[in-house]
Subunit: 316 residues, 2 copies
């Protein structure tokens, strides 16, 4: 066959006689050089692999979410590869999906609407955002209803007379956190007529929780309930209380967000807002498979209801 | 050109006129279908990507090791992709390296000498085992000197009169743990004339540490020092002590292994054996790059000295 026939087979853009195509693919596969699963993808457009973009692996929420995604993929006979986006952004994942290394991509990280992502999505490549919604990115999305989660914590504080509330938050550009904070503030204003909460801003880290707790509790009229935007921050707050001999929950309540496994350990015994990781992971894989089958189906966003899990770091 | 010429270019097994080869590769790349980085690999045999095989991501030691590997790769202009081996074993990584999706693979998991791995290694594919040595697998390896780490804990206990030692260990087939235990026992026998330690066997989990501590401390003559084979187990032991009102370190010392970040948090304040994760990660990437440059260089194993980090869970 001619070189241009090989090109046409490889690109799949124009018709090639079926028998010729089979011979060319067989020859390429026989050569042993080309990736096996790329050769397979040429025939079926299915690699059986899904890429997952992660960051901040040292926050245990992400390993737990990845395990849930991995389990959901395995149930569907798919395999997972991961990219750590902290150093490289989402570009490798976009390249991989354009290059047919994977059948689709799941982003668990914050994603801005970048030219690279737009190009991939406009090309109909299957992609789902899970955990961090981004209304301006045109793809299927799965998230927990963060605003409702924040609101439920405000209701819990008000119901139990915790009238000097405080927040320890992360950077403003992380949507999940700002949604939780907004829900908390709106809930407080709705229930008490005004939002009287004070606020310490840092990172999503144990260190920030530790520093935030120390600063908040050093004032003349310290808070009697602190809502931390994730569990890692709350662990730092509880550890600061331990070092300062401030009693939890007697002197101050501490609430986290995520319900990672550690929050149930005796050291923290943390009241927190549970994100249904397993259900969210299943939904993400569902949406990805639906998009693979029907590339032009309407965009869909699924929100899961969070649930307040009460433990020893609060008094009721 | 003929189909067989294309095959020869793709396989790289026999000589093809340089100009013809360039034209074929250009045509394939122009087709836009073939993965960009596979096309690049055909010219240079460099994808710029390294695969990392992980498991048990919910043990924070692994995310910390992955971050160190990612940093070392980035310093060398390489990118990382990860496979989670818990559900699928090492097969996808072996496929990827054979298919030239990656330039090399780093295994952080337990690896048996399997036919698939042997075939890849005999083909000269670059691979490094880091963290879990496997003497029967013929490839470069990086590990901490686990036996020395265990021995240092025995010396520490003996030096401070902790004469009723106990161990909480994981499954016997995990080499890192059995090396640590052997070092501890040999050290004890060398220093005191006999190994009088008692032992609880479970998993590498908080839950096993919790159960092990409860069982060990319920006897008539409970231990006054417990060496746990990793930090997660030790956290479970400390949490059990908290729930049983047993004082650490007054009533019993607890020592872990790994020195993950959490071990320094006030909740645990754990004495532990540090594994030099950053140095180990750098060495793994060094060995991988050396193997890429010189496929037939002699096999090399680098062992790093562990270091006892003393904190509040022991009394000295």
């Amino acid at each position: 066959v001619s070189q241009s026939t090989v090109s046409r087979v490889l690109s799949g853009t124009t018709a090639v006689n079926a028998e010729t195509k089979a011979r060319v693919l067989e020859a390429i596969e026989r050569s042993g050089y080309l990736p096996n699963h790329s050769a397979r993808a040429m025939r079926t457009r299915k690699t059986g692999m899904v890429g997952i973009v992660v960051s901040r692996l040292t926050n245990p929420f992400y390993p737990e979410l990845i395990e849930a995604l991995n389990a959901a993929l395995s149930e569907n006979g798919l395999r997972m590869i991961l990219w750590d986006a902290d150093l490289l952004g989402e570009e490798p994942a976009v390249e991989a999906i354009k290059g047919n290394l994977v059948d689709g991509v799941i982003f668990t990280t914050f994603v801005r609407d970048s030219p690279a992502i737009s190009a991939a999505l406009e090309g109909g490549e299957p992609a789902v955002l899970v955990n961090r919604p981004a209304p301006d990115v045109p793809c299927d999305q799965v998230a927990s209803a963060n605003e409702d989660g924040g609101r439920s914590v405000a209701g819990y504080f008000v119901e139990h007379g915790r009238d000097r509330p405080a927040l320890i938050v992360g950077p403003d550009e992380i949507d999940t956190g700002t949604e939780r904070e907004r829900g908390f503030r709106l809930g407080l204003a709705d229930l008490t007529g005004s939002d009287n909460s004070v606020r310490f801003a840092g990172e999503y880290s144990h260190e920030s929780g530790y520093a935030g707790f120390k600063e908040l509790m050093s004032g003349a009229n310290p808070p009697n309930a602190i809502f931390c935007m994730n569990d890692l921050i709350a662990f730092g707050a509880v550890d600061a209380a331990r070092d300062l001999d401030i009693r939890i929950p007697e002197d101050v309540w501490v609430v986290g967000y995520d319900n990672i496994e550690m929050s149930s350990w005796s050291a923290y015994d943390l009241t927190t807002v549970d994100q249904p990781k397993v259900a969210m992971a299943r939904a993400a894989i569902d949406l990805l498979l639906a998009r693979m089958d029907t590339p032009n189906r309407p965009l869909e966003t699924r929100r899961f209801a969070p649930r307040l899990v009460m433990r020893g770091s609060t008094g009721a």
